[in-house]
Symmetry: C2
Subunit: 107 residues, 2 copies
DNA sequence: ATGCTATATCGTAAAATTACGATATAAGGA
DNA sequence: TCCTTATATCGTAATTTTACGATATAGCAT
């Protein structure tokens, strides 16, 4: 019974991550962080045509999904990918594969 | 230059997949297919409170994203995950990790 | 305290997505 | 041919998401 509860929690967490990544702006932010390792919020804002408040909201969604981390650094905030979250996501998707637990032949 | 074009294509494909997975109904369909290996369309319809036309549209989105395959089987259609697409998705997400190309220490 | 910079939150209009019923298509069987 | 079954597509109403400006919060100077 406890197992089932945590399965549900796993599903919810996964669905939340995927929903966060389903938006093109948030996807671009993830790509940017993957390429640049870290970014100040204002750098992310500058890389888009959007208002600062909009980007801030998107960052919040990514944060709450466990995909990025924001560390306050003086008056600004430094964002980076959350490697644990991303790795977890990767593992979950891998778990969808029928042959996930045996060796992968040629991929 | 050709490389950049294909990078863009990669990004677009990835964004499309994630967008497809960002919807809770489509996510549930993926989970169902991952658990059951294959499903007839009407089985998927029965597993939701939604109209047949709605489910059909969701399946189309998943198909066009390269996440599922539908094979016509007599008068019905048999759906299953597209292992190539799912594996590709997993690899792309793995590529976001900073240590993706070295050995993973303890994960 | 005042002012400046960087972010976050709130309320709301605009845009996009979703779900539906109706209708079309396609494969078999009588 | 005419039904029946299973699925797909179309047009549109309803819901959800997004983007914005305005405003609040927080840190750090002067």
């Amino acid at each position: 019974m406890l197992k089932e509860k945590s399965l549900e929690t796993t599903e919810l967490r996964l669905a939340k991550m995927l929903k966060a990544l389903g938006n093109p702006v948030r996807f671009e932010i993830m790509e940017m962080l993957a390429n640049r390792q870290t970014c100040m919020t204002y750098e992310i804002v500058q890389s888009t045509p959007l208002a600062q408040s909009t980007v801030s909201q998107h960052l919040k969604v990514l944060r709450e999904a466990g995909l990025v981390r924001g560390e306050v650094e003086g008056p600004a905030t430094c964002y980076c990918l959350d490697p644990d979250g991303v790795r977890w996501l990767k593992d979950q998707i891998e778990g969808w594969l029928p042959d996930c637990c045996s060796g992968s032949p040629d991929a």
